[in-house]
C-alpha cells in the first residue's frame, strides 16, 4: 500500500518529470514529504508561488517538455493564478498541482480553502479535483496528455490532504482514452488541395509564423516552403525565433508595435498564410483593415481559432508540422518573383524622410534649450550591443513593457525557443522567474533577462531562488524611472497627462543585486555601455546591469486603436 502522495510522485516520475518548482504549505505537506524521497525529481523552492508558475512556464518553453509547479491550498493556489493565465494565453504545456483542505472540509470555508478548480476554470485547458486516491494514476496521465497534446495548455490537479495521505494499492494507468478529446492532426485533404491552389496562384504570398510553429516544431518545414516559394515570413511575438532573424526572407515582427516593413508587407501581400497564430488584436490592429488585398489561409490545431477574429478563406485544422509536410508533397510550383523588396524600399524611403524631419526638429529643440541627449544611451543601442555579444544559443526572457518591444523588434534571434516573453497576457514580473526555469533546463546556456525598472520590482523576489540555486542569470534593467508603456499610452490617448507612471524615488538596483550576492553594475553614459555589458556577460554568477535611459523614448512604430497596420505613427507624431 502506498499513500496518494507517493503514488503522485511515482506518476510524475513515469511522465519523465525532472524538476518541480514549488512552495510548501499545510495542505501540501504529504506531497512535499513524498517528493523529497524521489531521486529523479529535483524540487526547486521559489520565493513566491507566482514565480513557481512562471518558472515552470519558462522551463516548458525552452525545453519543449511539460513544466510542473506545486503549491499549497488557498493563497498558495491563488498566487499561482496569474502564472496559469499567462500559460493559458500563450498555450504553454504545464501541469499545476495544488494541495487542498481535506475532502470532508471542502465547501466549509476552512482555513486556507479556496475553490481553485472553480477559479482556474476559465484560464486552464482542464482541471481536476481528485476525490479518490485510486483515481490519481488516471488523472495524472490524462493531465500530462491534455497539457502537451493538441493545442498545449495548463492543466490543474487539486489534491485534498486526505487523498494525498490515504493508502491504496498503486495500479499503473497506461492508456489515455478521452472520448471528448481527440485532437485532429492531419489536415483535410480537400482543404490542403485548396491551399496549394491558392499558393500556386498567388503573386505576393506571405507567411506569418505564430507560436504554433515553435510548439509544433515546424521551423524546418516553414523555412523549406518559404525558400522554395521565395515568400517572406513575418512573425508574431510568440513566433519569434521560428525563422532566423537575419535570413533574407525574415521580415521580423508584425503588429501594433511591429516593424514597418513587416506591417507594410502584410498590407501589400495577396495571400496571407497564418501558421499557428490566433489573430490577436495586437497582431491585426483594426481587423476590418487587416491585409486588405489578401486571401487568408489559416492553419491551426485549434478549430475554435478559425474565424474567431478574422475570416479565413481557407481554414486548415491540424498539426502544423504534418500539414506543412502535406503541403510540401502537393506543391509543385516555381519560385515567385521577389515582391517585398519594393515594399522594403518604400519603407526605407519613408524612414529616411522621417529621420530628416526629426533631425530638423531636434536641432530646433536644442536651440530652444532642450536637453542634450547625445551622451545618454538609446534603448535601441542596448539591443544592438546585445546582438554583438550574445551567442546564438543564448536564451532571452523579457518582462512586459517598452523594453519587451524593443527586444522583440531588434534582437537578432537565430533559433526557436530562445525568446521567452509573456505574449498574450502581458504579465509584468514574468521575466526573472521564467529565466529561472530556463536556466534550470539548460544550466550551460547563457540566460539573459531583459526587464524594466517597473517589471524588475515585480519579479525581484526570485533573485533569492537564483542565489540559492546558483543560477547565473544576467539581468539587464532598462531604467527610465517610468512605466514607459503606460506613459506612452497616456501620451497618445490622454493628451500627454501622465498619471501614476513615474517612480519619483527608486531603490539602488546595484545594491539590491549585491544583497543577493550578485554583481551589480550601472551604465549612465553611452560610452560605458559595451564595456559594462561585456563585464556582465563575463561574470560567472548572477549579475544585474542597470542601464539608465531617458524617459522620453517611446516605442515606434505604433498603430493606434482603430487603425490599420499601415497607419503607423512614428517618433515625429509624438504629443509632448
Amino acid at each position: 500500500m502506498e499513500s496518494g502522495a507517493e503514488i503522485l510522485v511515482k506518476c510524475l516520475e513515469s511522465e519523465g518529470v525532472e524538476v518541480i518548482f514549488g512552495y510548501p504549505g499545510g495542505a501540501a505537506l504529504e506531497i512535499f514529504d513524498a517528493l523529497q524521497k524521489s531521486k529523479q525529481i529535483r524540487n526547486i523552492l521559489v520565493r513566491h508561488e507566482q514565480g513557481a508558475a512562471h518558472a515552470a512556464n519558462g522551463y516548458a518553453r525552452v525545453s519543449g517538455k511539460v513544466g510542473v509547479c506545486l503549491a499549497t491550498s488557498g493563497p498558495g493556489a491563488t498566487n499561482l493564478i496569474t502564472g496559469v493565465a499567462t500559460a493559458y494565453m500563450d498555450s504553454i504545456p504545464m501541469v499545476i498541482i495544488t494541495g487542498q483542505v481535506p475532502s470532508g472540509m471542502v465547501g466549509t470555508d476552512a482555513f486556507q480553502e479556496v475553490d481553485i478548480t472553480g477559479i482556474s476554470d476559465p484560464i486552464s485547458k482542464h482541471n481536476y479535483l481528485v476525490k479518490d486516491t485510486k483515481d490519481l494514476p488516471r488523472i495524472v496521465k490524462e493531465a500530462f496528455y491534455i497539457a502537451k497534446s493538441g493545442r498545449p495548455g495548463p492543466v490543474l490537479i487539486d489534491i485534498p490532504k486526505d487523498v494525498a495521505a490515504s493508502l491504496v494499492e498503486y495500479k499503473e494507468y497506461s492508456r489515455v482514452d478521452l472520448r471528448g478529446y481527440k485532437p485532429n492532426l492531419t489536415g483535410h485533404k480537400g482543404q490542403v488541395k485548396q491551399v496549394v491552389q491558392l499558393i500556386t496562384k498567388a503573386q505576393r504570398p506571405l507567411f506569418c509564423a505564430g507560436g504554433g510553429v515553435i510548439s509544433a516544431q515546424a521551423e524546418k518545414e516553414l523555412l523549406f516552403l518559404a525558400e522554395k516559394l521565395q515568400a517572406p515570413v513575418v512573425s508574431t511575438m510568440m513566433g519569434l525565433g521560428s525563422i532566423p532573424r537575419e535570413h533574407p526572407l525574415s521580415l521580423g515582427m508584425l503588429g501594433t508595435y511591429g516593424l514597418a516593413r513587416a506591417n507594410q508587407a502584410t498590407q501589400a501581400c495577396d495571400l496571407f498564410i497564418a501558421l499557428g497564430m490566433r489573430f490577436d488584436d495586437r497582431v491585426t490592429g483594426n481587423t476590418q483593415k487587416f491585409a486588405p488585398q489578401a486571401k487568408i489561409i489559416h492553419i491551426d490545431i485549434d478549430t475554435a481559432e478559425i474565424g474567431k477574429n478574422v475570416r479565413a478563406d481557407v481554414p486548415l485544422v491540424g498539426d502544423l508540422k504534418i500539414i506543412l509536410k502535406q503541403i510540401m508533397e502537393c506543391l509543385d510550383c516555381s519560385k515567385k518573383e521577389a515582391w517585398w523588396p519594393e515594399v522594403e524600399a518604400e519603407v526605407a524611403r519613408q524612414q529616411a524622410n522621417e529621420k530628416a524631419n526629426e533631425n530638423k526638429k531636434g536641432k530646433a529643440k536644442e536651440q530652444a534649450g532642450g536637453r542634450e541627449l547625445a551622451d545618454e544611451v538609446h534603448p535601441a543601442e542596448v539591443i544592438t550591443a546585445l546582438n554583438r555579444v550574445l551567442p546564438p544559443e543564448a536564451i532571452i526572457t523579457t518582462d512586459v513593457g517598452q523594453h519587451q518591444i524593443w527586444a522583440a523588434q531588434g534582437l537578432n534571434l537565430q533559433k526557436p525557443r530562445t525568446f521567452i516573453s509573456s505574449g498574450g497576457l502581458g504579465t509584468m514580473g514574468y521575466g526573472i522567474p521564467a529565466a529561472v526555469g530556463a536556466q534550470v533546463a539548460f544550466p550551460q546556456r547563457p540566460v539573459v533577462v531583459i526587464t524594466g525598472d517597473g517589471s524588475f520590482q515585480m519579479g525581484m523576489p526570485e533573485l533569492g531562488t537564483c542565489l540559492e540555486e546558483d543560477l547565473p542569470l544576467k539581468i539587464i534593467i532598462f531604467n527610465n524611472r517610468t512605466l514607459g508603456m503606460v506613459k506612452q499610452l497616456q501620451d497618445h490617448y490622454c493628451e500627454g497627462r501622465h498619471v501614476s507612471v513615474s517612480f519619483r524615488k527608486q531603490p539602488e538596483f546595484q545594491y539590491i543585486a549585491r544583497a543577493y550576492g550578485a554583481l551589480g553594475l550601472c551604465v549612465q553614459k553611452k560610452a560605458e555601455l559595451s564595456e559594462k555589458l561585456a563585464q556582465l556577460m563575463r561574470h560567472p554568477g548572477l549579475a544585474v546591469l542597470e542601464i539608465v535611459l531617458a524617459a522620453e523614448h517611446n516605442v515606434y512604430p505604433m498603430v493606434l486603436a482603430g487603425k490599420g497596420l499601415d497607419e503607423m505613427v512614428s517618433e515625429v507624431c509624438v504629443v509632448r
Partner: protein
C-alpha cells in the same frame, strides 16, 4: 436567431458548471438549459437554446467542443425535431371559475394535478407556442405561481 444545441457530455460533477461558465465568460446568452442522463448512464445530454447569429453559434459550438468533457455538439435547429417543455401553473380558481378553467384545460389537453380550496395546479406539456397559449388563457383568472422547464428536443427518424 434562436438555435437549439444538443450537447452530449460526460456524466460527472462539475461538467455543467464548466459548460455554463463558458457561456458567461464568452458573453453568450443562454435562453434555456436542460440537463439529464441519457440511455447511457455515463453520458448526460444538455439541451441548450441560444440566441445569436451564425458566427456566434459557430463560436459557441467550437468552444463547447473544446471542453474536454464535451463528447459531441449538434446544432439541431434546422432538423425535424420533437421538442417539449413543461409548465406548472397555480391559478386562482374559486367555485365560479373552476368549471370554466377545467373546460379550457380539456381543450389544451392539460392536466389538473392538484386541487386546493381556492386554486388549481395545472400541468402542461408542449412546444413553446402551446405553453404560451395556455398561460394566456389562464391569465384572466389570476396566475399565482408559474414554473417552466427549458426545452428538450429529439431529432425525428432513425438518426
Amino acid at each position: 436567431m434562436r438555435h437549439t444545441l444538443a450537447v452530449l457530455v460526460e456524466n460527472r460533477p462539475g461538467v455543467l458548471s464548466h459548460v455554463a461558465g463558458l457561456f458567461a465568460r464568452r458573453g453568450y446568452n443562454i435562453e434555456s438549459l436542460v440537463v439529464g442522463e441519457t440511455e447511457d448512464k455515463t453520458v448526460s445530454r444538455i439541451t441548450l437554446v441560444v440566441e445569436g447569429d451564425e458566427r456566434v453559434i459557430e463560436q459557441v459550438s467550437k468552444q463547447l467542443n473544446k471542453q474536454i468533457e464535451v463528447i459531441k455538439v449538434n446544432d439541431i435547429t434546422n432538423e425535424e425535431t420533437v421538442d417539449r417543455q413543461m409548465l406548472l401553473l397555480k391559478v386562482t380558481a374559486d367555485q365560479a371559475a373552476r368549471q370554466e378553467i377545467l373546460q379550457l384545460m380539456e381543450i389544451f389537453r392539460c392536466r389538473v394535478v392538484d386541487i386546493g380550496r381556492r386554486s388549481l395546479i395545472i400541468e402542461a406539456t408542449g412546444d413553446e407556442g402551446k405553453l404560451e397559449a395556455v398561460t394566456q388563457s389562464l391569465r384572466p383568472f389570476g396566475i399565482k405561481e408559474l414554473v417552466r422547464t427549458g426545452k428538450v428536443a429529439m431529432v425525428r427518424g432513425p438518426k
